[in-house]
Symmetry: C2
Subunit: 308 residues, 2 copies
Amino acid sequence: MVKGIGDDCAVITIGGPEYLLVTTDLFVEKVHFLMDWATPESIGAKVLATNISDIAACGGVPRDAFVSIAVPEHIGLDWLEAFYAGMAGLARSFAVNVLGGDTTRSRSDFVANIALTGLVPVSEVLFRHTARPNDLIVLTGPTGESAAGAEILLERPRVPPDVAGVLVRAHLEPVPHVLQGRILAASGACTAAIDVSDGISSDLGHICRDSEVAAVVYEDKLPVSDALRQAGTIMGKDLLDWILNGGEDYVLLAAVDPDGLSGIERSFKEHGLPLFPIGEFCRGSHMELIKKDDSRHILKPGGWDHFK
Amino acid sequence: MVKGIGDDCAVITIGGPEYLLVTTDLFVEKVHFLMDWATPESIGAKVLATNISDIAACGGVPRDAFVSIAVPEHIGLDWLEAFYAGMAGLARSFAVNVLGGDTTRSRSDFVANIALTGLVPVSEVLFRHTARPNDLIVLTGPTGESAAGAEILLERPRVPPDVAGVLVRAHLEPVPHVLQGRILAASGACTAAIDVSDGISSDLGHICRDSEVAAVVYEDKLPVSDALRQAGTIMGKDLLDWILNGGEDYVLLAAVDPDGLSGIERSFKEHGLPLFPIGEFCRGSHMELIKKDDSRHILKPGGWDHFK
């Protein structure tokens, strides 16, 4: 074992050129998903997607998924088959084998646990604790869409169907950034990474705490999708709250050596993938947000305060 | 991947002299255990023990355990700490690292999932589908004690405390047979194995079905512990029902080449471990039970019928 609790995956030596990565997540009906909102296909895909995202954050490729489920009486065979079909669809996209696990009864809620293995070359594994002052902060995609999608499902505001569709899909059917993680890991210039599951303000905080660095994020560099902007206007929401504090986007947030940025940008461009530098790590003890009006704010998990 | 669903573990190639074994089990309060019966320590130990037993059945040594839990409001921090302490105690006995997993809320019942890895030399892995006619059937310990212990907890019969203690402990604190599995695997003479989690009649049936062989079991060769015999007399129970159909004993049931039995017996003896030959595999399509009165019965999962 190289590293245990705390990173997205456990990183385990297996005596070859690669580390074994293992991640596991438990999903409980009505805590993590509502049957009314989501199809069984999308629930099956999302529980696998969140685990694949953990492997991606370590720079690895996912390999074998072990699925355990506890099934209450209100779940029928049709529902279960659709749940597995959704999972199998996403698994095929990422060449993941879905292997059997345990199936048991539940008295009340549906429960699913995924344990997923992956592999990463020993010299390329990405951790959370290795970011350095002066490294740039990059995002592999826009954030906030999933949180906005969840609010649309909950509050049913009058949002155009195409806009609502994009955001709800971002919430229900996130696509993990495996290729993005591999490009970062293989570049030799990425020093740390995490997937944005709790929101930028929380997940950047994890890297800062584990790496003992501070960070500055610029509002005007944060990517904002068109759908998010339209929903924000209609729903009267502060976009920055969604973007910084919304979770479950499953894009990657990474630390990159400034000298290596152009090479990484070129690789992303070759694959048709976007990459967004949003700030930099620095010495210090807190995260800072610089707004478009140049005002400075302390950024902390879940929000920000005006700098005193 | 070498073998997926069906065996006790998934068996995965990792490009070295060993296979990676992975097993996963989901435990749900009131389905798998009752808080009233068991201490949190024993629950934590047992959920790990059942997974270690799956690794033992493949001839492997357990390595890293990943624990996910869903915690309802009625579970306090003290209970959780005791749950982990019980797991850590058993983990130390078998040199297993308990690594973090996922912790989440539950609306109703406590849920725990363990994903456990293990390693086994490529040439020694034990499967269920490789038993051959004429191989002997061996057990690494007596069965039925766990089922008797569960009945004692449920029915509270008047059984002497020392007898009840042995049987209840067999149910609540099973000890997986890792060393026994390693001796069998390293012997070169063990052709198949399974752990007795559902009862001999079911688990022997799994080997017969997967290996396409039949089997004969002799009542007079089945090990019977003193505690089980005493409880059977007091409770007016048919011992053979407990022994053949009781589950959760977590001893190993294995197929052994007759020419290799004496070597395996010698190794077990050197380690102070018992080994019980209870019958043999043969050509055919059903399992047979030969009772002490020489009467012949069809043995099937969960019971037996007089031979017609």
